[in-house]
Amino acid sequence: MWARVGVSILLAILVLAASAGYYYYANFAAPVSNITGQTVTRVHDDNNPNQVRDTASTGNILSGRRINILLLGSDTDEKFQGGYLAQTDIVVTIDPTTKSVGMLSIPRDTWLNAADGKGMMKLDQVYFYGGPALSEATIHQDFGIYIDYYAWVGLNGFIKVINTAGGVDIDVLHPITDDLYPDDTGNSRNAYAYKRLYLAPGPQHLDGPTALEYVRSRHADLVGDFGRSARQQQVLNQLKTKLNNPDIIGKLSELAQDLNGYVKTDMQLTDVFKLMNLARTVDQNKINRLILDTNYSRVENLQTPSGTQSVVVLNCDKVRQKIAQMFNLGDNAVCNTGIGSSGTPTVTSVSQLSLSSNLSGEVNVNNNTWQTAKQLPKISTMSLNGGSKDLFGIRSLLDLMLLVVFESPAALQT
């Protein structure tokens, strides 16, 4: 009889363990493995000048030589069935020996020569036509910056996270008016992809889409990005308060699902953890920021086979010099955007291609769920800077998303 009881207890334990394992696998390991460890098939000629990634030998993303990470932020509008444009294009460079951090923001409308012979197009289209592989190769070819890793964020992920957190309740500082807000997260009927905003001032509840509008609008402040930063801090404060609430543990699997499909990177989860820990503590004032704005570029209307396009043309003499300094490239810094000294393209435009003819936007997904499953418990025992734990690495992935959406490590330090 005791043997039967023992077997029954053992069976019950096994069933419970299997259920817990399945729950853990389905709710955390599977989504996280869809996010991290993506494999990028490098475009021909996009070779690492250092031959071997240092992490292969050290196992630590932040030890060894300088690394460059391409942050891509995309609309996830349903109208782009064949792929997504990358509205945010930022190269983060980290020198682990000096702990110096640089951020290069390249305008999405920058007119340049895409790698792999794809011709002239806007930078945001490069991601559409060739995913992270073509984006990385184009940055390498046109600026001499080899990209070690990428991280891509779809804005709908941010909306989902805000909604899962129950929205945010804030005092909208002043009326928000914007006639040129990018309409890129819904099923827009507007061919020009703009949306009009009018947010009333004062205390109110913001759902995910409205919170995104509040933090993203660039035309709603006389003081420009200073005002935008103040708005972002408000939303981040509320969101962080909710994410730090013990109640959020019950929503961790939901948050993991929110990120699934809206955050992708070829970094491993442990790399993301270490990178976000660095971002949480880096001195904001010591980050070398370079935005290729009107001081480094001009806006032109360009006649292309598909019609007139408003594009950003870089002033390469200025850009090359700055890139050489920021990335410590010396004579290897280039600015070969395919625009001649006369301002005219020297490479054939690819604009006649239809937006539905995605060339190679898909990324080969590494089937590494079990590998990820093994990393999750390890991450969960590691402490974030500040002392709290990062259960299943969800917090680090959330921070990676915030870093791209807000385009600043300040988003992690609120």
């Binding site: 309740d169 005092d171 008016t177 020009y192 009018y198 509840h205 006389l222 007139t308 408003s310």
Partner: protein
């Protein structure tokens, strides 16, 4: 040895706790009776049916942007369908109509309907379309409307709009304002008026219906309202920046709503801070952010919201400055207009306090307060001191609703 209970100290502590509770706007509702009501809008709403939450009249508000009203018996009525985005209700003083805003993705309409419900009539439509201008830039002719308010004779509505977003700055008659003005849209909401009978097309309202100007790019105007028993005085919140153009200034302004129409020779300064004639006059100082004014039914007091610090807002009441709108650019009058503000009295404060409205008898103020992660309607009984006239709260504020109402929609209290 057993010590005796210091009952005096205990009693004082209880009194202190009650008074602090009142100041923080967190009145105790443990003994109050909240009943669930069906609002047909897919959200939950509970209403306090206890005697502490008694009030007279009808309070109009929105939840999930569906128009609702609570009557004095604490019954809730749903007035608009769930698929319509409605904001900012305002009942006409004659009690016949209710004006409100119907909002769409790119625009909104200013509409009204009989107060008992019925067909909705559009007073001003914001519909439009996107197009590309001669320089291949995307533009549109959609229009926003917001926050209608009735004149005392129920014949005219003032409201907010960006009707002048294509204002011709390049041909501004009083000097070149620079390229930024010439090329940018004037999106800031300004105060306009429209008659209820035979409302003109919006192209006419755009030019002849302007009542109060905004400063270009500074945020615009908000919260317009007529002063009861004074048809030539309105109030609104004016958003601008200080002279460094880096710090937001939010002030309450009063104005004669006929000034611009009756005196076109005064060279006004639409959008241009510091130049020309300003028809509005500030009644609160620039160094404190004050917003959301509401006249008392007598027209002698103003309830408003003050941003006390980054984590506290306060509901205050101040006297109305008299005889200031006729000569708004006179330095002495400008100083005089700021004096009553110094007599402001704090009624209630909290993390988020907003949207004050007076009861028709002037004995209560309803406002929105943030508790348990929702914005809800609270009631404060108020009275004026017989000697000083300063308002103060009687007892503690009482929570009227639970479950959350819209913070971005101005409520209304009708008889």
């Amino acid at each position: 040895m057993k010590r005796s209970i210091p009952w005096r100290a205990f009693f004082l502590l209880v009194l202190l706790a009650i008074s602090v509770q009142g100041c923080l706007g967190t009145g105790n509702n443990s003994n109050q009776n909240f009943k669930q009501v069906n609002t047909s809008n897919g959200q939950t709403l509970q209403v306090n049916t206890s005697d502490q939450a008694l009030f007279k009249g009808k309070i109009y508000f929105t939840q999930g942007h569906v128009l609702l009203l609570i009557d004095g018996s604490r019954n809730v009525h749903t007035l608009t369908p769930r698929n319509q985005d409605v904001r900012d209700p305002a009942v006409s003083p004659d009690g016949k109509r209710i004006a409100f805003i119907v909002r769409y993705k790119y625009s909104s309409d200013l509409v009204y309907m009989p107060v008992q419900g019925g067909p909705v009539r559009i007073l001003a439509s914001g519909t439009g379309h996107f197009f590309q201008n001669n320089n291949n830039f995307t533009q549109d002719n959609y229009i926003w409307y917001a926050q209608p308010a009735w004149s005392e004779n129920s014949s005219t509505l003032i409201f907010l709009s960006d009707l002048q977003k294509y204002y011709d700055w390049a041909n501004y008659p009083y000097g070149d304002l620079g390229g930024d003005f010439d090329q940018s849209l004037f999106l800031d909401m300004q105060v306009f008026s429209v008659p209820l009978n035979n409302p003109p097309p919006r192209s006419v309202i755009e030019n002849s219906g302007i009542v109060a100007y905004a400063n270009f790019g500074d945020g615009g105007d908000r919260d317009p309202g007529y002063r009861p028993h004074h048809p030539y005085e309105i109030i609104y919140t004016h958003y601008t920046y200080d002279s460094s153009r880096s710090n937001q200034v939010i002030q309450l302004f009063m104005e004669d709503p006929t000034m611009i129409v009756k005196h076109p020779e005064k060279h006004y300064h639409p959008g241009d801070p510091g130049g020309g004639y300003d028809p509005g006059i500030a009644i609160t100082p620039p160094n404190v952010q004050n917003l959301q004014p509401a006249f008392s039914p007598t027209g002698n007091s103003i309830a408003y919201i003050r941003r006390i610090d980054p984590t506290h807002m306060g509901l205050y009441v101040m006297p109305v400055p008299e005889n200031i709108t006729g000569d708004p650019n006179n330095k002495d009058v400008e100083q005089k207009a700021l004096q009553p503000y110094k007599q402001s009295s704090l009624i209630v404060q909290g993390q988020f306090v907003s949207q004050p409205i007076w009861s028709p008898d002037g004995k209560q103020i309803a406002y929105l307060s943030y508790n348990n992660n929702t914005f809800d309607i609270w009631l404060a009984n108020v009275s004026a001191d017989a000697k000083t006239g300063a308002y103060k709260m009687q007892g503690n504020p009482v929570q009227l609703t639970s479950g959350g109402v819209d913070g971005d929609s101005r409520p209304f209290w009708a008889p």
